[in-house]
């Protein structure tokens, strides 16, 4: 059987969800041996590849750049997983939504009176006014909540999906 292709993508999150994936310890190696790990912050491929079977996405969407990356991942992946609370609800990055991006930038870069006080913006992807969860932009097949989700939860889901022993989509939907 052709190996399944797994990708993981990091948008605006703290990396804790990826660390929880690493907390599967040796099981991750066993899993990686059965699948092709085609894209991940842990690897050196810079462009999200085509024909991905499963993509796990950590983090909220906080910039136009995040949004473009999310859409590309959706286009090229059969199954898209929102991994962790930031991807599922916006969580921590969305805490700034009450005030908006401008107020946040002014507070961080102007009001503390650093040297050369200014709001950075040269060659930087502009921030969206609000950080939003993945399902605001694309169809999400599976939500795995938790901050971060437990390593066992992530492993059970991935192992089930990648070895074809489970279709977890039937069991979860947002808000359920």
């Amino acid at each position: 059987m052709k190996k399944r292709r797994l990708a993981t993508l990091w948008l605006d999150g703290c990396s804790g969800c990826h660390m929880s994936l690493l907390d599967t310890d040796e099981r991750l190696l066993d899993l990686a041996a059965q699948v092709d790990m085609v894209f991940s912050p842990l690897a050196d491929i810079k462009e999200f590849p085509e024909q991905v079977d499963v993509v796990c996405i950590e983090g909220a969407v906080s910039s136009a750049e995040d949004e473009a990356r999310l859409h590309r991942a959706r286009r090229h992946s059969k199954l898209l997983i929102a991994m962790g609370d930031c991807a599922v609800t916006g969580n921590i990055p969305a805490m700034r939504n009450v005030h908006g991006a401008d107020a946040m930038l002014r507070s961080v870069y102007l009001e503390r009176e650093p040297l050369q006080a200014q709001i950075p913006g040269t060659n930087l992807p502009p921030l969206r006014d609000k950080s939003l969860p993945l399902h605001h932009f694309v169809h999400v097949d599976l939500f795995i909540p938790g901050c971060p989700p437990a390593a066992d939860t992530l492993f059970t889901a991935l192992n089930g999906l990648l070895t074809g022993t489970a279709d977890l989509r039937l069991d979860t939907r947002f808000g359920a």
Binding site: G16, M19, S40, P41, L42, D44, S62, M104, L105, S107
Partner: protein
């Protein structure tokens, strides 16, 4: 102006872009390491109760949440104006050391291991931890085991591996159980052996890395870190010390609460990460480095048997402080050994099981500053609250920020060395990224960066013609 971009930088904790600017002769004139996203913790925590801060700020970073919890809790201890129970201090130290082990293992085995073992010119498709596991399964499994030891120790102390809510203002919220103490102790001997073995193995490979050692951010700079009263290696408390490139103390050791006297911050338009600098020297001359290399350069000794023996050998690398960032890998392994030994000492202390682990108090002071040594270097949390304990203002300076000026310099040095001429090779670009990885920058902490663009590197001549390009 010609420009080369490497985006996103992979296998660091987060993503970022590197831009290289060429002059008319094709030489690298300037290098920039850009952090391209910001979350704004400083702003959105305003108005929240201070007691939430350890758990909230843990979410700055999933790799070193414990560092943020500890720096935060220390700032909160000052708001309570209490001395926390001695056992609480020891338990917090234990937690910090466990984290040092897991984080250093991640940096060395998972992130830099592929460069070190497979080589910088290895095809990028498999130049990662999984490729490494295929080539040298034992190395990968040892790395997993060492990281797992640290994460399990955190879980045994604090209830969970990532973002535990155990560290609280005034101490910690539950004592260590005898069973968990035994469980950690039972793992220690085998972990100590593993770490020693990998340290030996790494030392034997040093000759093969001579070129990298020569140009990986190898330049004189000041170093900053905490030192305790005995001048030994310290990660949780003590005073702030700067040393110069010759190893001499710069100014007197400072109470961490006085950090603003000597540390200022500057903003550049092209990155969200600020640039802390040593005020007396101004910006950008006041560049300094923090982290494992800085700590080993600062400390009189480690204070544990095996690590002190290793430190003596490490010191033979240079007459003064060790200046090449390549040796941060080496320093990380020595610190890991130290942490394992120190965990053993702390667990042997009968007081470690004491039930008095938290001081209860209300707000007794309106300002608090907590400073610890995170795995990547000095971490500062500074809070102001109102009488009700609601946050009014905070400032955070994280390790990657302290290193920001030095990282720019380091990339420039490596780029000048590796990128002369008009042809690009993939392995050369990876070398420049590898310089960044020696700093082990936590871009999660520094609000992290992403880049959706495929990596296209263009080398553009002064007339605007594309001389070469590379894509992956």
């Amino acid at each position: 102006m010609s420009q080369i971009t490497i985006e996103p930088v992979s296998r660091i904790e987060g993503h970022a872009a590197i831009r290289l600017f060429l002059d008319d002769t094709g030489q690298v004139r300037d290098a920039r390491f850009q952090v391209t996203q910001v979350r704004g913790f400083e702003q959105f925590v305003v108005g929240r109760p201070f007691s939430e801060m350890p758990s909230l700020t843990a979410r700055i970073c999933g790799i070193c949440p414990v560092s943020h919890e500890l720096a935060s809790a220390k700032a909160c201890d000052q708001l309570l104006a209490v001395a926390i129970p001695p056992t609480a201090t020891k338990l917090r130290c234990l937690l910090n050391l466990a984290q040092l082990v897991q984080s250093h293992a991640l940096s060395f085995f998972y992130l830099s291991g592929p460069d070190l073992l497979l080589g910088m010119d290895h095809p990028p498709e498999t130049r990662n931890f999984f490729g490494l596991a295929a080539a040298d399964p034992q190395f990968a499994r040892d790395g997993i085991r060492i990281r797992q030891f640290g994460q399990q120790a955190i879980e045994r102390l604090a209830g969970r591996r990532i973002h535990p809510s155990w560290v609280v203002p005034g101490g910690v919220n539950s004592p260590l159980t005898a069973a968990n103490r035994e469980a950690i102790l039972a793992d220690l001997p085998s972990i100590k052996t593993l770490v020693s073995a990998h340290l030996d193995r790494f030392k034997q490979t040093l000759d093969g890395h001579a070129e990298a050692i020569g140009v990986f951010a190898n330049f004189p700079s000041m170093f900053l870190g905490l030192v305790n009263e005995e001048g030994t290696l310290e990660h949780y408390q003590g005073r702030l010390r700067f040393i110069d490139a010759g190893g001499a103390p710069v100014g007197t050791d400072l109470d961490p609460s006085d950090y603003q006297q000597v540390i200022g911050e500057a903003v550049e338009p092209w990155t969200y990460l600020k640039f802390p600098y040593y005020r007396p020297l101004g910006y950008p001359e006041g560049m300094y480095r923090v982290g494992p290399l800085a700590r080993l350069n600062l400390a009189a000794r480690c204070g544990t048997e095996l690590a002190d023996r290793e430190l003596a050998l490490f010191r033979e690398l240079a007459t003064g402080p060790v200046l090449s960032m390549f040796h941060a890998h080496y320093a990380r392994l020595i610190e890991t050994l130290y942490a394992v030994e120190r965990i053993e000492e702390l667990l042997a202390d009968p007081q470690i099981l004491d039930q008095r682990i938290r001081a209860e108090a209300g707000v007794n002071s309106l300002e608090g500053i907590g400073v610890t040594e995170a795995p990547r270097g000095t971490l500062m949390h500074h809070y102001r609250v109102n009488e009700d304990g609601l946050i009014q203002w905070i400032n955070l300076i994280i390790a990657t920020g302290h290193n920001n000026l030095a990282m720019q310099r380091g990339i420039l040095q490596a780029a000048r060395h590796f990128l002369t001429g008009t042809t690009l090779r993939e392995g050369l670009l990876n070398r420049i990224e590898a310089v960044i990885r020696t700093f082990d920058p936590c871009l999660s902490c520094s609000t992290h960066a992403v880049g959706s663009m495929p990596m296209i590197v263009e080398l553009i001549g002064p007339d605007g013609a594309i001389l070469d390009h590379l894509r992956r």
